[in-house]
Amino acid sequence: MHSEIHSRYLLNRRSFLSSTMTGLSSIALAQLLASQNLLLGAVPDKTPIRPNIDPQRPNLARQPHFAPAAKNVIVIFCAGACSQIDTFDYKPELIRMHGKPMPGEQVVTFQGGQGNLQKSPWEFKPRGESGKMVSTLVDRLGEMADDMCFIHSLTGKTNTHGPGENFMSTGFTLDGFPSMGAWVTYALGSENNNLPAYVAIPDPRGTPQSSVNNWGPGFLPAVFQGTDFNAARPIRNLARPQGIPGNEDIATREFLKRMNERHLAHFPGDTELSARIASYELAARMQLSVPEISDLSTEPEHILKMYGADDPENKLKSGFARNCILARRLIEQGVRFVQLFNGAYQTGGEGTSNWDGHKFLKKQYDVHGPILDQPAAALLKDLKQCGLLEETLVVWCTEFGRMPTFQQGASGRDHNPAGFTAWLAGAGVKRGYTYGATDEFGYKAVENVATVYDFHATILRLLGLDHERLSFYHNGIERRLTDVHGNVINDLLTRA
């Protein structure tokens, strides 16, 4: 069974061609059997599925394992650990017990000793038909609550940022594993051949703590890594170098192509060489399509306004808003996976440029809330109004939660992986739905406790991928995004 493992040759057209038939037909057969309920009662097939990759077009769209609910994904990642207590996880008991010690034994904190329970400085209001209580810190997102599917019972495995971000983005707390976006593009390719299949959009303030690990390929081929650029900072080396005129550039590239083709003539049929020629053609197409997609000047004024991209006062907000518009434009063009970061870990200390509100929660979140709120809410609204939300899954997440207490001698909350919130919206997920719960103070997940693995398994499920089968052979192990864990949270799905 394993005599044909050769991951180095994953992108080898020769083996691609020889294996395509069997690979596709077995999936097709499974689908056929499944559709006729012939597999019912049988033990589900959990043999690994490794996609066949055409080396000349590695991002060509590929079939999912079963009918998908969502075609593509936008992940809004709030870096720094955004507090569930002050956003989406409403706890009346916390308000009642405000200022008192949290009952029970002393909990483990990350940075400071544990102080008393602290209600959120922001008021919670019932929203929409669902009546979901959402804080005024994220007022406009709150208005979209009827479109969201909340998970209040997520739990993590670490309470430090780097490993926490790794865990949320790659399924491992350790460095060096492929990101969820890399897994998805490895599995599914992309609908657009002129743009990268996977785009990571860093916050205007910089990159998150775990930096490129959040969108890295790990041991997957580099072609599946996220390409990072945002509305303000284009893809590195995308533009023709300064000082080289356009006609020279074109002439040089045409010359290069002739050179490579003459060389290929000595190696007829060698697809490693022709794949490299093809990559220059994609690069050329990207040079046209990426600036076009990043050029927001064609966006109507009311759209810029809706996102807050025109806000002259709050440059960070308008910057993030432009990133949100970029995310929509990418999805519109069939880009498979977009990761939109809110918050950065750059110089300036904790909580200044991200959600790590240890010491000055009110002051810092009053800065971060508005940057996130209007643009992200507008993105959701915009996707909805243009119909994209029907085929797009929007994921809002963060690396872990925060404490219902303040730290001793500080007015902010410490790290808390014992219970935190994420939400999904769009294709295939229930609307205005709440799953799982933390305890009466919002400290610890107690009802329908879910893991990050479950979260990942569910996202893959929505994309038509079996998290137990999507696999890449590496160092003797059939590696998976969810390692050996994870269960799809069927309760979140419109059709399980």
Binding site: H2, S3, I5, H6, S7, R8, Y9, L11, N12, V43, P55, P58, V108, F110, N159, T160, G162, P163, L174, D175, G176, S210, V212, N213, F219, L220, P221, A222, V223, Q225, I235, R236, P241, G243, I244, E248, A251, T252, R253, F255, L256, M259, N260, R262, H263, F267, E272, L273, R276, I277, A278, S279, Y280, A283, M286, Q287, T347, N475, G476, I477
Partner: protein, 954 residues
């Protein structure tokens, strides 16, 4: 067979492998009969129906999740993948099965919800009782009459066999000369597949291939011409010899090993601090390769270099990422340590043995004969290893050792003289009449009767830490302990030990003794307690101790004073440590105390001695500081290692002894084996001629890097889940010779480079492509793209900018902002330092070289035995448009102009000669001249640096 391996076949392995499924049971009924309370549980009647209805679908004839099945007795009573027994006859509480079915662990409730849901309470009770009653399982229902005994028949665990190279029918080989055994094995296998090998490559292709492969650099035009024109019989072997003698070989091949060793020069994770002195290990690898150090020594040094005088080699152990931000949650911190240990175990076992031992961290290995306890035995070998820096005793500057020795001998002389003086002036002679030295259990301070309303016990020195007193008793002339709280005595203190329940102030006079009822001050080495009696008392004795049961002797007040007062204003000292014999530290009184009781010449001499000793110690410390330190790991006394249930540090099980895999024998070490010896013994075992894996694994790695694919295409996994060898006999034949040639890597390279197999043309042939598109039978030399490092080095070499400075601290491609978290900002200008070979680039995790990182360049996060070779648009953009490449294209144009003059044709000619080792044909010349004449030579150079012909080994 040469009997190289001693394989112990262990019956425990019978748990690991699939057995024959010839017989299986089909459940006839479901549910369980309700039982009378006293009636014993019957397996056939009560238990099997439960298993059949609820468990067999995943743990039965068709499927054995976790390698566990409940339809066969011997399996059900074995341990599956769990590492311990699901069914412990007679003890349901120790039986995993009961834990699973009773839903104690929400994550692991069996049967899972999607397989029919949980068992009823009655059913669980039935199983519990059956186990408690001894889990009787009649043999006639054992279900496995035909079960095969399993063994480690996996090929890589078998001894290396000295196969003779096969006789090859020359009809099948065409113009492919059989130069050595390699060619015989390859040709014979090709013949079996009906494919002819290729003719030899032309000399230009060959010299480019061997330079790019062995040095990661291009041959110079002069080297090409010399080889092409060498018509001697030794032309090829001379070339191979030259290539192997160059130190560029080590610079190229070290990169391969550093990938396997997941070597990086920053911590990774969130703070990602750089390791400025990790490069010693990189230089060690380069030098070991260049000196052709026998591979077995290379192995031993990397695991136990401190034991064999090669300290820098242990950089291998700590080359990986390391999370220095420790979680305050002890459970998470324990897991971080487990992850570190797993990194040592995994890297060692994959790099040297090609075994994925790390898979057995939570359960027995699913494919290979590796028990969970084996993982922890190996972990015990590394239990004393920690990340960090250590002195490089092999890198000490000249003269330092001599000066150090000299100073140490001076120090010894002075210390000896001081010791003589101590003997000459013994404590007892000058201190008669004193009370005995304080001791931890009990001390009595008697004094003339005094009046007191207050008594203060002040501590100014302890033997270590904050002082502790378990009970302070004060006796009146009536011999009553008037200090007792119960008699109305109150107490206050300088401050109490925070955050604990045992050591409270009220314990000082509660009448209870022992550590659990003691007071500790909140100050290192000092503190006081003060008693206030309800009325004036007449006292003459104080009794106190640190721990009267003798359980602890730390925190002892060795310098103290007892004072009394009637008004809390005027105090009289009534006793204290000055009335006692000095407390001896390390068996003697302190130097200050000693001098203090001497007079005259003796005092002067002792003072001088003490001063000199202090100076000498300082200069020794300075010498030691001048010894370089490297990031090569630290070693401490290892704690006890225990197997962890499901890898969970909170579920420690039995203690394990440092050892190797059960299936491969034993090291015979003691549970408390000294730290270094654990690693040394493991290393020597790995590097022994008898180890069936080690030599095979390195031979295959070398083959892999030469041909782009190993004989085993999974170079770090020689287990069952890895690939089978395409040429098992060849692998063994080469391995056998390699060992015979004293594990010489250069011998192995030479053997491969000299073969016709390696020297074949790389041209594809339609008929061969149709039979073997992957070229796994090696009918041609497989062409491949250069790796990131070789591309960068070749660009610099071509433009004439390559700085050949070797070794030492690496160059940085970033400006580092060293906050708590390190931030890296790419340099915007490059100079000669950045133009060194990329092996000398300080390898920062998560921060790739902006241009070449996207060429599947690993960042040291995980071990990479086998780089991907992807082709992406970002690579194209970087090579076309990056500032680095544009600048280099300009340098190349300058070089061409300088070397070939003004004439465009001469410039193009020179460019082809340098970059492609050939001359352009007319068409190429015309095309190139047109571009260069219209847009300038730099435009042509930019294209050249992007050409496939430049970037591929062919």
């Amino acid at each position: 067979m040469n009997g190289r391996t001693k394989i112990t076949r262990v019956t425990m392995l019978s748990l690991m492998l699939a057995a024959s499924f010839s017989e299986f049971l089909v459940a006839q009924e479901s549910g369980s009969a309700s039982l009378e309370p006293k009636q014993p549980v019957d397996y056939g009647r009560d238990v099997r129906p439960i298993f059949a209805a609820h468990c067999y679908s995943c743990h039965g004839p068709d499927k054995q999740e976790s390698n566990f099945r409940l339809d066969i007795k011997s399996h059900a009573l074995g341990q599956g993948d769990f590492g311990e027994l699901p069914i412990v006859p007679g003890d349901s509480r120790q039986s995993l099965l009961i834990g699973y079915v009773s839903g104690k662990d929400a994550d692991l409730t069996m049967p899972p919800a999607d397989a029919g849901g949980t068992l009823s309470t009655d059913q669980v009770d039935t199983l519990r009782r059956w186990i408690n009653e001894g889990a009787d399982w009649p043999d006639e229902l054992a279900g496995d009459a035909t079960r095969k005994t399993m063994s480690t028949d996996h090929w890589s665990f078998q001894p290396v066999v000295d196969y003779p190279p096969p006789v090859v029918d020359l009809e099948t080989t065409g113009s492919f000369p059989l130069r050595n055994g390699i060619d015989q094995f390859i040709a014979s296998r090709l013949a079996l597949n009906g494919i002819r090998p290729s003719e030899p490559a032309d000399r230009v292709s060959f010299i480019r291939r061997i330079y790019l492969d062995m040095h990661g650099l291009l041959p110079t035009p002069e080297q090409v011409r010399a080889f092409v024109n060498d018509d001697s019989d030794n032309a090829y072997s001379n070339l191979i010899g030259q290539v192997l003698e160059s130190d560029h070989y080590g610079e190229r091949w070290a990169r391969h090993w550093l990938d396997v060793a997941r070597f990086g020069e920053s911590t990774g994770y969130e703070v990602n601090r750089d390791r400025a002195n990790a490069y010693f290990y990189r230089d060690y690898v380069i030098e070991s390769l260049n000196r052709d150090k026998p591979y077995r020594d290379f192995v031993v040094e990397q695991l136990a270099g401190d034991a064999v005088g090669v300290d820098e080699a242990t950089g291998f152990l700590v080359g990986g990422a390391y999370d220095i931000v420790k979680s305050p949650d002890i459970n998470l911190t324990l897991m971080q340590r487990e992850d570190e240990l797993a990194d040592y175990v995994n890297t060692t076992s994959t790099a040297f043995l090609g075994l994925t031992v790390g898979c057995a961290r939570c359960h027995n290995h699913k494919f290979d004969p590796i028990l969970q306890s084996d993982y922890y035995s190996l972990q015990a070998v590394f239990a004393g290893v920690e990340h960090g820096e250590r002195q490089l005793t092999s890198q000490i500057p000249a003269g330092v050792l001599e000066s150090l020795a000299e100073t140490e001998s001076k120090l010894e002389a002075q210390e000896n003289r001081l010791a003589e003086m101590r003997t000459a002036f013994p404590v007892a002679e000058t201190t008669t009449g004193l009370l005995p030295t304080v001791n931890a259990k009990l001390n009595t301070d008697s004094f003339e009767t005094v009046e007191a309303r207050f008594l203060r016990f002040t501590i100014h020195q302890t033997n270590q830490s904050e002082p502790c007193i378990d009970e302070l008793e004060v006796y009146s002339t009536e011999d009553i302990n008037v200090a007792l709280a119960s008699l109305g005595c109150s107490v206050k203190s300088s401050g109490d030990y925070p955050n604990n329940t045992k050591h409270k102030l009220e314990h000082i006079n509660d009448g209870k003794v022992g550590n659990d009822f003691s007071w500790i001050s909140n100050t290192q080495g000092s503190g006081w307690v003060q008693l206030e009696f309800p009325e004036i008392v007449h006292i003459n004795r104080v009794v106190w101790g640190r721990e009267r049961n003798g359980a602890f002797a730390d925190r002892l007040a060795i310098g103290y004073a007892i004072s009394v007062s009637t008004d809390e204003k005027v105090w009289h000292e009534v006793s204290g440590s000055r009335r006692r014999l000095p407390f001896l530290v390390n068996g003697r009184e302190s130097e200050d105390e000693f001098i203090g009781r001497l007079t005259g010449d003796a005092a002067a001499e002792a003072t001088r001695l003490v001063q000199t000793i202090k100076q000498l110690r300082e200069s020794i410390s300075n010498f030691q500081k001048s010894i370089p330190v490297g990031y090569i790991g630290k070693f401490k006394t290892p704690p006890v290692t225990r197997r962890l249930y499901r890898g969970d540090p909170l579920s420690p099980k039995e203690e394990v002894v440092p050892d190797i895999l059960t299936v491969l024998g034993t090291l015979g070490l003691q549970p408390d084996e000294p730290e270094q010896n654990r690693r040394l013994k493991l290393a020597q075992w790995i590097a022994s001629d008898d180890n069936p894996l080690t030599a095979r694994v390195i031979v295959n790695r070398v083959w892999h890097y030469h041909f782009g694919r190993g004989i085993v295409s999974t170079p770090s996994d020689f287990g069952k889940n890895g690939a089978a060898p395409t040429h098992p006999e060849l692998l063994d034949w080469l391995t056998e010779r390699f060992i015979e040639h004293h594990w010489s890597l250069k011998w192995l390279h030479r053997e491969i480079l000299s073969s016709s197999t390696y020297q074949q043309s790389s041209r594809p042939r339609t008929e061969a492509l149709s039979k073997d598109a992957d070229c796994k039978w090696l009918w041609r030399f497989p062409l491949r793209r250069l790796e990131a490092e070789a591309i960068r080095d070749c660009v610099l070499q071509l433009t004439g900018k390559l700085n050949s400075k070797a070794g030492g601290p690496g160059f940085l491609l970033f400006k580092i902002d060293r906050e708590n978290v390190h931030h890296y900002f790419p340099l915007e200008e490059f100079g000669p330092e950045q133009f060194r070979r990329m092996i000398y680039m300080t390898k920062i995790r998560q921060e790739q070289d902006e241009v070449f990182g996207v060429f599947d360049c690993p960042d040291g996060g995980q071990a990479i035995p086998n780089r991907n070779q992807s082709t992406t648009a970002l690579q194209a953009l970087n090579m076309l448009n990056s500032q680095f490449v544009i600048e280099q294209a300009g340098f190349l144009a300058d070089r061409l102009a300088a070397e070939a003059g003004e004439d465009t044709e001469s410039q193009i000619l020179r460019a082809y000669d340098l970059a492609f080792s050939r001359s352009p044909n007319d068409l190429e010349m015309k095309d190139a001249c047109e571009l260069a004449n219209q847009y300038g030579l730099a435009a042509f150079c930019r294209a050249l640096l992007n050409a496939n012909e430049f970037l591929f080994v062919r």
